[in-house]
Subunit: 154 residues, 2 copies
DNA sequence: TTAAACTTGTTTCTATACGAACAAAAAACT
DNA sequence: AGTTTTTTGTTCGTATAGAAACAAGTTTAA
């Protein structure tokens, strides 16, 4: 009996539910970790930018020229419907401008405004702190390992 | 010059945006990895259960007795407002029953139905496959490392 | 015991996130 | 040229997710 790690109760449970521990599942943990990060982000970010809005605006600010709405969405892994909402809110805050493309009349070409670029500059040290705070439970070495493996899961 | 890893362009960019690569940030990667998992989950799951609904129903099925709505929510890391919606949808599908507590008249006590329990049993091999598919880009050893570190970030 | 503080659950608001259906325009193909 | 397919963007519906404000009931403390 000394070699058996399961008691009668879990033994019986596993006859029906073999070895599925919710708190160890990748999906459950990803949701919780993402939630924690979102909380940290919302608490610290300036200008009322959400994490999603920051990602999109940051990408746009880094562009050399204008880019279409859907193309920008793809660069930050958002589908067209989601992109539409995020862009609208950035536009409403005066961080982004949209203009009809003359060549392709379906397209809206997006550009960041001076206000948008200034906000990103101001936010940079803040988001670095957010990254640091999110990774705080890990050592430097663990963080590097984690990020490397996480990137493989995307 | 051979020892320098940066070209003129990135050199100039970093004068304003020091060393912040969006695609390497924990928040950006967590969102993408979570999205990928959600896609896998939705594609494979039976009974139309979402990942969130599955988590909550699974927890409830594992309970020995009834539990209050908010308490169940806390067990799966959902706030009261979110819990309310998820429970309503589970109830609408006949997977869960709610009953007023006689002792504490604020409370709704929840219990899984036979249908709910049967669905969880049927879903178990499916969700194991989902976990496996999500972790497929990693080796066994990498998966263990990743899950250990991910748990620390929750 | 009465008042203050907390808990439980609800509703409303805002913000992702995606599927599906759609119109308009562009591109590819026959 | 004319047809088919694809791309771009929109709208609608559903599902998390959390903040805020609220009512009702319970617990704690003075």
């Amino acid at each position: 009996m000394a070699s058996r790690s399961h008691d009668e109760t879990s033994e019986q449970r596993e006859r029906f539910a073999p070895e599925y521990v919710l708190d160890e599942q990748i999906g459950f943990l990803l949701r919780k970790a993402y939630q924690r990060h979102q909380t940290i982000f919302t608490d610290r970010m300036i200008g009322g930018l959400t994490a999603t809005q920051f990602s999109m605006l940051f990408r746009l600010v880094q562009m050399t020229g204008p880019i279409s709405q859907n193309a920008l969405g793809r660069l930050v892994a958002m589908d067209a419907a989601t992109t539409k909402g995020v862009v609208s809110r950035l536009q409403a805050q005066g961080l982004v401008t949209t203009e009809r493309d003359t060549e392709d009349k379906r397209r809206y070409m997006l550009q960041s405004t001076a206000k948008g670029r200034a906000l990103i500059q101001e936010a940079l040290p803040v988001v670095m702190g957010i990254t640091e705070a999110t990774l705080a439970p890990l050592t430097k070495r663990e963080s590097e390992t984690f990020l490397r493996l996480l990137a493989k899961l995307c």
